[in-house]
Each structure stands twice: as structure tokens, then as C-alpha cells.
Symmetry: C2
């Protein structure tokens, strides 16, 4: 097919347009995948922190009262942080990853637009060839030549029109792309900032929790656990003191029923087995 | 071996002490492992973000000037955040994980202390048996009995002394444990907060970067890339415009050498291949 200088210029323009479209497809695709991986890894951090929360809870159950209390409060703040991390991961999916995925459809539509324009130009080219052949075959047949010229003119107008439409549609694509990218990256930032701000708040509370431990009070409790009195009261005992130091006295009948009651209260809690956590 | 009521009481106390030691070993061990996993997963988040930084850089090289600029600045703030994430991971190791690991040695020493005390009590028990046997064998030999009683007395004093030492050492252990736990968890919080605070600062800058895009300026550049003028100047061209729409004109000699110069300047940059990033 022959090509006028104009046609070649338009072909080059189309080539550049196709490159722009492929470029967006490639880079938005990469960023989308990477952000998805970023989200998945953030979820894993959340999982490990949740595990820590559980472990702190289990450990705190074995501890003296004020340490137990401090650890439980600490763990609860840490748990809330993970709730916000969960929200971060979900919002990332909705506001950042999904919109980027949406560019697959946009790219597809732009390629169809390019195709439409290329078809129109191909028809123009064919008409041009047709006119040439007609001129060579029937150089004196003015009517046939006139018809071919007229067909070419229509095809050229169509090609010109679709070319202009493509330029407009591509300008719209570029504008929309800039706005979408601005929004997507902005939203990424605000999702992140929202999480970081909440984390700061809750970590501040966690800090205060862990500093609320009353060492002296707990040491008293510990000391008395090493020296159980005649009456083993719940307030003075720690978890795990399943057997009292008073077995011999029971055999002699002293305070037998009272001690048996208190032994039941002191029975150590079963510590739940952790699901084995394989290292990711 | 026979056991006095006192001896049985001390045995129970020792049992509780051993339980406390094992409890710390178990729970500190679990928390240490979980925090190590938390650190590793945080490092993976950093890696994904670093990958995003690179991809933004590569994509920005293909874009119109103000979008390119905005993306590069955005990426540089994101990169700094990952530097702080790296610091977070390193400090977690030093201030939280290592101290928890250190409890292995503490636990070992406490178990040795318990052993020492148990050995002393075993010796006391043996002396008691010895005395009993001596009394049965030589009931009238006051001298031998007196010797045995004296040996028992020494062993009892020794057992009493080591028991007291064990109680003191365990109280010190409990006190130190509370302080260490307070410090470890505090440091965990401050390491985290330090990172979150920096992230907030840098994300604020990133937000401003992405909002600095000048859409209209960039659209002008884009439009002129679709309609290259007679002179293809670098300012008006985009990456990837390796061939100009002016091939035909060159053949006719117009502005040939000038265009060839500018074509070299516009040669598209090679985009580096990304190391294939397998999904962790």
C-alpha cells in the first residue's frame, strides 16, 4: 500500500500512541502487583503481632497481679493496633489496588480506539491504490476516475475524523491517567497515614500500661508464695501452686477440709497449646 | 529418704521456684521467636516498598515533565520511609530480641542455684537417715549418736542457708525480670513509635509531591508530541519517539542534519529489567 507523507506521519503518531498505552499497561501492572505484595506482607506483620498479643495474654495469666494487669492492658492496645492494620490492608485493596487493576479495561478500550482509526486509514490507503489503478487502466474515463477520486475523498475525511477523535480520546486518557494516578497515590498515602497515626496513639497507651507495674506489691505477693501461711488464701497464691506445703498436717487432721477447698481454687490453669507457627 | 514436714515444705517451695523459672523460659522464648518473626516480616514490607520506589522511578522516566518530577519526589520520600523501617527492624533486634534471648543464660543460672540448694537438702536428708540408722544400730553409744546429731545439725544449717539464699536470689530474679520486661516492652514501643512518627512526616511530604502535578503543562507537552513541529526539539518530545514523522521530508533534503541530531537526543532509554520478584 502506498503512503502519503501525511499517512506516514499519522502512522508514526499511532505508533507513539500505542507505546503510551503499552507503557501505562506495563507500569501500572507492575505497581499493582507490588502494592498487592506490600498489602500481603503487611497482613503477615499483623498476624505476628496478633500472635504476640496471645502470648502476652497467656504469659500474663501466670504472673503476679500488677504485672498481669499491665501486660493485659499492653496486649489489648497492641491488639487494637492490629485492627487498624487490618483496616489499612483492606483500604489499600479497595482504594489503590482495585483502581490500578481497573486500568486493564481502560487500556483495552484505548487499543480498540486505535484499531478503529487504523481501519479507517487502511480503507483510505486502499482507495488511494484503487484511484491509481483506475488512472492507469482507464486514463481517459473521466467518470470512473471521478468516482474513485470521490471515494478517496470520503475515505480520507473518515481517516482524518477518526484520527482527530483518537487524538482527543488520547488527550482525555492522559488527563484522566494523571488524575487517577494522583488520586491512587494520594489515597495510598492517606491510608498509610491513618494507620500510622492510630498506631502512635495506641502505642502511647501501651507505654503507659507497661509503666503501671507496681514492683513492690508484686514482690510481696511473690514472697508470700514462697512462704505459704497456715491458711492458703487465693489472694496470696500464684498459679501453679497445686500442692500445698501442708500435706503432713492434713494427715494429722488439722484444717483438712479447708485446705482441700483451697487446693481446688489454686489448681493451675491449663495453658493452651499454641498452633505451631511455622516461620514464614 | 525420709522427709520432715519442713523438708516437704521446702521441696514444694523448690517445685514452685522451678515452675516459675520454666514459665519464664517458655514464655520469654515464645515472645522472642514471635518478635523475631515480626521483625522479618517488617523487613519484607520494606522490600516491597523499595520495589515500588524503583518501579515509580522507572515509570516516571517515561512520563511528561511535571508528572515525572512529582513521581520522583514521591518515590524519594517513600524510599526514606523504608530507611526508617530498616532502622526499626535493626533496633527491634538489638533492644528487644537480644535481651529476650539473654534470658536463656539467666534461666540457666537460676537452675544451677536451685540445684545447689537441692544438693544441700539431699545431704541433710542423708544425714537424717544416717542418724536414724546409728540410733537403731548403736542405741547406747552416745558418742556416735552425738556425732551423727552434730553432722545432721551442720547439714540442716547448710540446707537452711542455701534455701534462704535461693529465696533471695529468686526474689532478685523476679524483681529483675519485672524491670527487664518493662524495659524490653517500653523499648519495643519507642522503636515502633519512632518509625510511625517518621513515616507520618515523610508521607506528608509525599502527599504534597503528588499534588504538585501540573496537568495543563503536561497536556501541552503531550499534545505537541502528537503533532511534532518542523523542528523536533527535546523540550517538546517524549521518550520513545525514536522515529519522527518527518522521514519523507528528510529524503527531500529539508532540515535533514538538524533532525538527525535531535533524533539521537530523543532515543528512548533502555528500561532495566526488574529482578524477578517471587511472591513471599
Amino acid at each position: 500500500m502506498s503512503r502519503t507523507p501525511d499517512a506516514r506521519m499519522r502512522d508514526n503518531q499511532t505508533k507513539r500512541i500505542q507505546e503510551r498505552i503499552s507503557n501505562v499497561e506495563k507500569h501500572f501492572g507492575k505497581m499493582c502487583q507490588t502494592l498487592a505484595a506490600y498489602g500481603r506482607n503487611s497482613a503477615r506483620v499483623r498476624d505476628k503481632a496478633d500472635l504476640l498479643v496471645r502470648e502476652l495474654g497467656q504469659y500474663s495469666d501466670t504472673e503476679t497481679p500488677s504485672l498481669k494487669n499491665a501486660l493485659k492492658h499492653f496486649a489489648s492496645h497492641l491488639a487494637k493496633i492490629q485492627d487498624y492494620r487490618q483496616a489499612q490492608v483492606e483500604r489499600l485493596e479497595v482504594k489503590v489496588i482495585e483502581p490500578l487493576k481497573g486500568y486493564n479495561a481502560v487500556v483495552r478500550r484505548k487499543r480498540e480506539d486505535v484499531k478503529t482509526t487504523q481501519s479507517a486509514r487502511t480503507r483510505e490507503s486502499k482507495q488511494m491504490d484503487q484511484l491509481e489503478r483506475t488512472r492507469q487502466k482507464n486514463p481517459s474515463d473521466r467518470q470512473v476516475i471521478s468516482q474513485a477520486e470521490s471515494d478517496l475523498q470520503r475515505a480520507t475525511m473518515d481517516a482524518t475524523r477518526t484520527t482527530r477523535q483518537l487524538e482527543e480520546t488520547m488527550e482525555e486518557f492522559e488527563k484522566q491517567k494523571m488524575r487517577d494516578l494522583k488520586k491512587i497515590l494520594s489515597d495510598f498515602v492517606t491510608v498509610e497515614m491513618s494507620f500510622h497515626a492510630k498506631a502512635l496513639e495506641l502505642y502511647t497507651l501501651a507505654y503507659h500500661s507497661i509503666h503501671s507495674v507496681e514492683e513492690e506489691e508484686d514482690l510481696k505477693v511473690f514472697r508470700s508464695s514462697l512462704h505459704p501461711p497456715d491458711y492458703l488464701t487465693p489472694a496470696n497464691s500464684l498459679e501453679g501452686t497445686a500442692s500445698t506445703p501442708f500435706q503432713q498436717q492434713r494427715a494429722s487432721g488439722r484444717q483438712a477440709s479447708r485446705e482441700e477447698e483451697e487446693e481446688d481454687e489454686d489448681e493451675s490453669e491449663e495453658e493452651e497449646d499454641e498452633d505451631s507457627e511455622e516461620e514464614s
